[in-house]
Symmetry: C2
Subunit: 220 residues, 2 copies
Amino acid sequence: MDVSTAVAAPPARSTRVKDKIMATAERLYAEHGFANVSIRMIREAAGQRNKSAVQYHFSTRDELIQAILSRHAAAIDLHRLPMVAALEASGEVTLRDWITCAIAPSIEHHIELGTPSWYGRFLAQAVVEPTFREYAAQATLSTPSFRRLELLRPPSMRDRALELSERQAAMIRLLVVHMSAELEADLAAGRAAASPEQAWRSLGDNLITAVCGLSSALLP
Amino acid sequence: MDVSTAVAAPPARSTRVKDKIMATAERLYAEHGFANVSIRMIREAAGQRNKSAVQYHFSTRDELIQAILSRHAAAIDLHRLPMVAALEASGEVTLRDWITCAIAPSIEHHIELGTPSWYGRFLAQAVVEPTFREYAAQATLSTPSFRRLELLRPPSMRDRALELSERQAAMIRLLVVHMSAELEADLAAGRAAASPEQAWRSLGDNLITAVCGLSSALLP
């Protein structure tokens, strides 16, 4: 098999099964909560007869949840990379530029996922679990685009007392994660007035404005 | 039995059992999540041998959860009443006055509860459940002190587009609820640097400052 064939070939059955397990787990966790979904329920809902299908791909439940978090972080990273490159080229970075580059890529990812989606509610559960709170934060902070964005922090966000910086970061994370989960739930239930894309962009604009205000007040 | 004896008497056994059930349910729900705690687990952990002890006081699980939410809202109301009376007497109410009167009473309630407490994590779960999200908001908004506070809204918070006002209210609620739940968890696990009272007051100050900034930006 030459390389071009390999690239063009459909994903191997093993990859398709892995994707199916991750998508099913995300939906079940989002709908029923981490604690109410067993590995067996995921396997059955994913249509896998082999009793160790999930364990074959993910040795533990935590590894499965972490893999879902990392996959979304990687997809968001792809949206942020061109934005951060534009900021690097622009010379001067304002507070609003920086915050837009932090928040907008996740809004674009939600638009791309379509409706209904489950990532928003899945993530909202991950950040309220002490076990995954830190992992979820690191999954974002360790992406190449976010590491480059860190180097572009505007003066008002640099050299601050660690406690206040951490509190501000926690507030931003909570706002983005939980407001997104609420909108996702509203869209899935047909409760939103606007089209999904308009609704996401409106939330994105409001979040960027609110986070700029919050940050200026907290780190004057 | 004359009235003074009746007043001085300890609460009836029935009231003590009801309190015990509510406190136990709150702790178990906070620790394990709504979906993982059965009425039977609550009854057993509360030391009740009578199999219908919980049903006798609360006909359904939802009624029990709503009773816990209402009890805390009533306790917070007692902290807010003197603050709102002072605002009513002062004549002019600034944005910061208004937001302080909205947020500080819940911080005082957390200090009063002591450490460890479970209300913060219990509430964080309630607001992410569609069933209780609205009830939890109404439990606060319908208290006498909050109804009086509504009448004192400063100009920048009046006559705004409904969608933006609702989004601002949702952001404030999310910040207060989830930041409080995180601090409560940190205190319970011995992870906070300051004394509980100092840690709560510092969070309260930061929340008031952040919410003022967020509100000024969103409703300029």
